[in-house]
């Protein structure tokens, strides 16, 4: 007799626990949906909603890059390639190459921490799909440009003041852990 009672008790428990679960599922009809309809049906670009510390695809501001090679040295997978040559005409050292292979990059953020001027930065950009891996190598030097030399007593040119400021702010807010 007790087996029969257990049998029906089990059926009752099963059905009631299914309805218990269903009640949670149905309560989601009145809750705020958490789905993000990613590529097109979104109110705001995802890139704009990401926090400042987000480590996306790297960018380099060549105007404030001193060519100290700290990022190239610290990179654990050598995805940064920098070429510097002495220009015979101006007798200055010029960048001939600054490539970052986004394919190899593991977004660890060690390079941006090593940078003294904040010229190498992680952006909020993360969409990098392309047809062949060569398209993922970012070339930051198209024609040779001179190395940046920080002026004593600060910059005077407004454009440079702004750029140096952006780099400094980036270092203060994100990369400089000592502060």
């Amino acid at each position: 007799m007790s087996e029969v009672i257990t049998y029906f008790q089990n059926i009752k428990d099963t059905v009631s626990s299914i309805f218990e679960g269903m009640s949670i599922t149905f309560s989601h009809f009145v809750r705020k949906p958490s789905t993000v309809q990613y590529p097109d049906r979104i109110a705001q670009q995802v890139q704009d909603t990401l926090p400042l510390r987000y480590r996306g695809i790297l960018e380099v501001d060549m105007d404030i890059c001193t060519g100290c090679l700290a990022c190239e040295r610290v990179c654990p997978i050598n995805c940064i390639a920098i070429g510097i040559e002495r220009n015979a005409e101006t007798n200055q050292r010029d960048f001939t190459l600054f490539d970052i292979d986004i394919c190899k990059c593991m977004y660890c953020g060690l390079c941006m921490e090593a940078c003294p001027t904040g010229s190498i930065r992680h952006t909020q950009e993360f969409e990098g799909a392309c047809n062949n891996p060569a398209g993922l190598v970012r070339h930051f030097v198209t024609e040779s440009v001179p190395l940046y030399k920080p002026k004593k007593g600060g910059e005077t040119e407004p454009r440079m003041i702004q750029k140096v400021d952006i780099g400094k702010r980036y270092l203060d807010e994100i990369a400089e852990p000592e502060n």
Binding site: S17, P51, R55, M106, C108, I174
Partner: protein
């Protein structure tokens, strides 16, 4: 091979069945060679090594700072713990003192990571048993944690947040507020999981008294973490071999009590994780209250060269005791890095427990051990 006579001149044979390497229930690239007699398993041998990426060897070729992002890849569901293990080993070798705020930042990040990892464990457990809805509920909450992690350290999965000597970036006060808000939102959700999954009669019937691991077996087969605690052994590295700021925090170590069946069955291994979710929330709240001011990272040389020596560091990761054996020869590169993980030792007991259980219960056993294929092979 056992042959069973049917009495009519015919006989049956054992069948060899490959579960994996590509199988949704093996949680990654993991293969089991299963010998079955009908529905009953006679032998199940785990075949590991499909995800070997020689992370230990890479350690010998990287600088001390440069190896930290690689440790993320040892266990992608709990990357923060892998970071912490290596950083603690390097600090112990180099005699680096971590500032108090750095330690609190570490514990906050790690416990958030533990919640995220256990949510995956609980969610995929339901999915393997056949309940797909709880998986989505668990991942929804994990997504909030990923967003928090993105604010704290800038990445969602492979964090590289910890540095030798502290943490990479300080946790801002507004982020602390968001973590507190998340905890307020999350704790009632755990009750929801209980109503949705833990108290479900079908789920209980599938797990209670299935694949019971006794206390003695658990100790002999070197189970660690929640799997060991589910068998009734009171052992937690955070409490018994304290590290970081855990001695200052008040938390309990949940132990399997045979909630719905025998102590150490699959349901206990599941329920210990549910209770650990709440314990982690408790630790997080205490950390947010106690967080001191000050720097989050000690001054460590860019060219970090710890003196020659060796050390072994143990930490309590979501999959149990994670050990780092690191040898330094005083150069810029580690001489040897050896990683010991909980998932690997959990594999050994499958051979012992599986004879006599059903094929469907093998899936429950694998899911209840919460193994993570990349962590098995490294």
């Amino acid at each position: 091979m056992s042959e069973v006579s049917t009495g009519t001149g015919l006989h049956t044979e054992d069948m060899t069945l490959n579960v994996g390497p590509q199988h949704p229930s093996t949680h990654g690239v993991l293969r089991f060679v299963v010998k079955t007699d009908g529905e009953v398993i006679n032998e199940a041998i785990p075949d590991v090594g499909y995800l070997h990426r020689s992370i230990e060897k890479i350690g010998e070729k990287c600088t001390w700072h440069g190896y930290v992002p690689y440790t993320d890849r040892a266990d992608y569901l709990a990357a923060m713990f892998a970071n912490q293990g290596f950083c603690m080993a390097a600090e112990r070798l180099g005699n680096v003192e971590v500032p108090p705020r750095g330690e609190y930042c570490r514990v906050i990040a790690c416990e958030l990571n533990r919640v995220a990892s256990h949510l995956i464990a609980v969610g995929t457990f339901g999915q393997d048993i056949g309940a797909i809805t709880p998986f989505l509920h668990a991942l929804r909450e994990r997504e909030s944690i990923n967003d928090l992690m993105e604010e704290i350290c800038g990445a969602r999965l492979t964090y590289n947040y910890l540095r030798i000597g502290g943490v990479g970036y300080d946790i801002k006060p507004e982020t602390c507020g968001r973590i507190a808000a998340f905890l307020d939102h999350f704790e009632p959700i755990v009750d929801e999981y209980n109503r949705l999954l833990s108290n479900n009669k079908i789920f209980i019937e599938r797990l209670a008294n299935v694949a019971v691991i006794s206390k003695e077996d658990a100790l002999q087969y070197n189970l660690v973490g929640p799997n060991l605690r589910a068998s009734g052994v009171q052992w937690d590295i955070r409490r018994d071999i304290p590290y970081s700021v855990y001695p200052e925090l008040d938390f309990e170590v949940p132990v399997g009590q045979g909630e719905r069946g025998t102590q150490g069955d699959s349901y206990d291994r599941y329920y210990v994780r549910i209770r650990e979710l709440l314990e982690s929330c408790r630790i997080l709240r205490q950390c947010l209250d106690k967080m001191p001011d000050g720097p989050a990272l000690a001054k460590v040389a860019r060219k970090f060269k710890p003196p020659a020596g060796e050390t072994y560091v143990r930490i309590e990761a979501p999959r149990g005791d994670m050990g780092y054996y690191v040898v330094s020869d005083g150069s810029e590169y580690p001489y040897r890095v050896r990683i010991r993980t909980g998932s690997f030792t959990a594999m050994s007991i499958i051979d012992k427990i599986s004879p006599g259980i059903m094929v469907a219960d093998l899936i429950a056993l694998i899911a209840s051990l919460d193994v993570d294929a990349p962590e098995i092979d490294r």
